[in-house]
């Protein structure tokens, strides 16, 4: 090793200041011409034409925006397609499962969101090398000036052509002022980044647990305390609570004897399938409309157990006592009243559907079921 005295401060660069954007463009062009490679321009706002003057090609940052923008587009579309037309198809507003116009705003937002966030993140972490935030130019008068209204050039000592005197002359000739060398401590740029220090990580964890704990506590406890619980205590009768109003303490009242509720038709053949079979006749005719209503209701209410074709090949097979086929001899020979009775009252494990299906719909279902039976067991005369 040559016995050189290691200076306390190391020369980083020589800087110069200009007042006008044209001058700084000129300075960059001249620096290029002189063959300097390691120099930088600092301005407080983007000066257009700078990249041409410095002969640095277009920024790569835009490719990151492009890639992430397009990923946003595809991800959004794929996600919406998967959610609303594949995994859980649901008709919304009478629109098709995959309805592009409705997806466009979300696709657009996700595209912009991903592109802009990732551009900023890439800029910070790839181009600015964060979390390293120290730089020899920081905290200098030079930086103060170029971050308000001046334009600066800084030619680095690591440039192969660098010669302190020559560079100073060079800047002088360009008309720069405040020509100053910038020094730095070794320690200044070899600062270890503090992000992975246990203290910092511990701090993050503490913040995390504090936030989570507070959220849990406030949602589960504080909201149950007065005065925050005003939504919980309302002037209405909750289930299992005693009514103050009626002397017998019941909130629900029995209907007045000998009356029925409006629109309610009592079922006359409760527990009496034989009578239902004998006295009830289907009031509907198998028209197109009736059959299509019957089909719709059958698919909605009966097919989960009995299958779309009523063969007992349902989606619930194996999870529930296997429902029978409705093409059996027995059901085919049932009167419409029998089936009506079963839908209304249920039969063994099959629950009653009187609440969900109106009377008319029940008859329509029966007509549709008859059509299904006929399709599976056609009579010879049907073939003609």
């Amino acid at each position: 090793m040559p016995d050189k005295i290691i200076p306390e401060k190391i020369l980083y660069s020589v800087t110069g200041i200009f007042d006008h954007p044209d001058e700084i463009i000129n300075a960059a062009e001249q620096a290029e011409k002189a063959g300097y490679k390691k120099y930088d321009i600092n301005t407080s706002y983007p000066v257009h034409g700078m990249s041409t003057a410095m002969r640095i090609g277009p920024s790569k940052l835009s490719y990151i925006a492009l890639v992430f923008g397009l990923s946003g587009t595809t991800l959004a579309l794929l996600f919406m397609w998967y959610v609303s037309s594949w995994d859980y198809p649901m008709v919304i507003g009478g629109k098709p499962y995959f309805s592009l116009p409705a997806f466009i705003p979300i696709t657009f937002e996700v595209t912009v969101l991903l592109a802009s966030i990732m551009t900023v993140v890439a800029m910070l972490f790839i181009f600015f090398k964060l979390p390293n935030n120290s730089h020899p130019l920081h905290d200098t008068d030079y930086m103060k000036m170029v971050s308000s209204d001046r334009f600066g050039i800084s030619i680095q000592a690591s440039d192969p052509l660098f010669d302190e005197v020559k560079v100073k002359d060079f800047l002088q000739n360009l008309g720069a002022h405040h020509i100053t060398p910038i020094y730095f401590d070794e320690s200044e740029i070899s600062v270890k980044n503090t992000v992975f220090e246990p203290k910092f990580i511990g701090f993050l964890l503490a913040v995390f647990f504090a936030t989570a704990g507070f959220t849990y506590f406030s949602l589960n406890y504080i909201l149950a305390w007065g005065p925050f619980n005003w939504m919980w205590n309302q002037h209405k009768l909750n289930p299992q609570k005693r009514s103050e109003l009626f002397s017998d303490g019941f909130g629900m009242r029995m209907p007045v004897e000998g009356t029925v509720a409006r629109g309610y038709m009592p079922y006359l053949y409760k527990g009496n399938q034989a009578a239902a079979s004998k006295y009830m006749i289907n009031p509907l005719l198998p028209t197109k409309e009736v059959l299509s209503m019957g089909q719709q209701k059958f698919v909605t209410f009966c097919s989960p157990c009995h299958g779309y074709l009523a063969k007992g090949d349902s989606r619930l097979r194996g999870q529930f006592p296997n429902p029978p086929s409705l093409h059996s001899e027995k059901v085919r020979n049932y009167q419409d009243g029998d089936i009506y009775h079963i839908i209304t009252e249920g039969q063994n494990t099959m629950p009653s559907y009187a609440k969900q299906i109106t009377r008319e719909e029940r008859w329509a279902i029966i007509l549709y079921l008859r059509a299904l039976q006929r399709s599976q067991n056609a009579k010879e005369t049907d073939i003609k």
Binding site: H20, P21, D22, V47, H48, G49, G93, G94, A102, P105
Partner: protein, 403 residues
């Protein structure tokens, strides 16, 4: 240009330059186009009065777009205190003078309203419950009052703003800029309201049952585009042929290109918003308008609109170099002007021809007259005014503008 020159010397330098003389052939071409166009319009009136009226309506809206849109751009410069556009502001000022011809076209149209507007047929309105509820707004008298009132207000602001700007050429008084800034600040909200109602009156009431609350904004987006495109076209042409008295840098071109690009996107945003809300709500009185534009060959015109008005200019102006490339800007300005006429055609003509799109010589002669009119107007203004506002205190900074 020495940036240290005082503003006074600077203004003198420019004004001492030769007045700009365009080749006479341009003016003559303008006159020929105008005369041929007007003659053909007159003939079309006798051939098919109804169709001619619909085309005249397109022409009116286009004229309004250029005139009022340009005045809006001028006002915008004052209100925003923009510097970059000062050297080219006169171009928009000249273009805004086409507002003067608005009353002529409007009066002809008012005499033919019966051909255009359903709601003027009183026997029809009486038997229609919805339309008879709308009569307090949609009736002859109120319509004409509104038209007169709007045109009056626009012309008032036009004369005031342009007068101050011209006066500044001689006096160079700073206070005139201040005065114009105040005028512009008053004008912009009035502009927003009047252009909305004007578009509702002239175009939306073609289908009196239909309504769209975003319609005014939709027309506004096209208006600004047309004004920007016509100004850009003229500025870049003058610059390329060496007629522009000051040096316009790429920075100026880029600003124009970027504004056009922004408004292309704005138009698409508004157009899609209008479409999507109507499509989603699926209410008959709203969808009828869209369905009409999906009938027969209108379908292709509608699809074409998306391509012509959005996709092509979007990609043509997307990259940064494209926004400062003079050739690209010239082509795209012409393209956008065409797209705006296309847009107006798409809005207005389906009412005339419900079964499918129609296109013939009549649709061609109206734009011919319009182009002629604008050339003649512009070269007249150029002969009698400075192309650059030499008294404007912002001019020097505007010329030295860097992005």
């Amino acid at each position: 240009m020495n940036p240290n020159d005082s503003t006074e010397n600077f203004a003198k330098n420019i004004s001492m330059q030769e007045p700009i003389k365009l080749p006479g052939s341009i003016n003559i071409t303008g006159w020929i186009l105008l005369i041929i166009g007007v003659l053909a319009i007159a003939i079309s009136f006798f051939v098919d009065r109804e169709r001619s009226s619909f085309n005249l309506l397109i022409m009116l809206m286009f004229l309004l777009s250029i005139g009022l849109g340009s005045l809006f751009l001028v006002a915008l410069e004052y209100v925003a205190g923009a510097v970059w556009s000062t050297p080219v502001r006169r171009v928009s000022e000249f273009l805004s003078s086409s507002l003067i011809f608005l009353p002529v076209v409007a009066i002809i149209l008012i005499f033919n309203m019966h051909d255009l507007y359903h709601w003027t047929h009183s026997e029809y309105v009486q038997s229609d419950k919805i339309l008879s509820q709308k009569t307090p707004y949609l009736n002859y008298v109120f319509f004409i009052i509104r038209v007169a009132f709007f045109i009056g207000i626009w012309l008032l602001f036009y004369f005031l703003i342009i007068k101050n700007s011209r006066k500044q050429d001689k006096t160079g008084e700073q206070v005139l800029t201040k005065r114009n800034t105040n005028l512009s600040a008053a004008f912009i909200p009035i502009f927003a309201l009047t252009i909305t109602f004007a578009s509702v009156d002239w175009m939306m009431s073609l289908e009196p049952h239909w309504y769209s609350t975003i319609f005014g904004v939709y027309y506004f987006s096209g208006t600004v585009l047309a004004a920007l495109a016509s100004a850009t076209l003229i500025i870049v042409l003058l610059r390329q042929k060496g007629y522009f008295p000051v040096k316009l840098l790429q920075d100026h071109l880029y600003s124009l290109g970027a504004l056009m690009f922004a408004f292309i996107n704005f138009w698409a945003y508004i157009a899609f918003s209008q479409y999507m809300l109507i499509w989603y709500a699926n209410i008959p009185e709203e969808t009828s308008w869209m369905l009409q534009r999906w009938t027969g060959s209108w379908k292709f015109v509608s699809i074409g609109l998306i391509i012509v008005h959005f996709i092509v200019p979007y990609f043509a102006l997307l990259s940064q170099p494209a926004k400062m490339n003079p050739k690209r800007l010239i082509i795209m300005s012409i393209w956008i002007l065409f797209a705006h006429i296309y847009d107006l055609y798409w809005i207005i003509m389906p009412t005339y021809s419900r079964d499918g799109a129609v296109f013939g010589w009549m649709e061609l002669v109206f734009p011919v007259a319009l182009v002629g009119l604008i050339i003649v107007l512009f070269s007249y203004k150029l002969r009698n005014n400075n192309l650059v506002p030499i008294g404007d205190p912002k001019l020097e900074r505007g010329i030295n503008f860097r992005l």
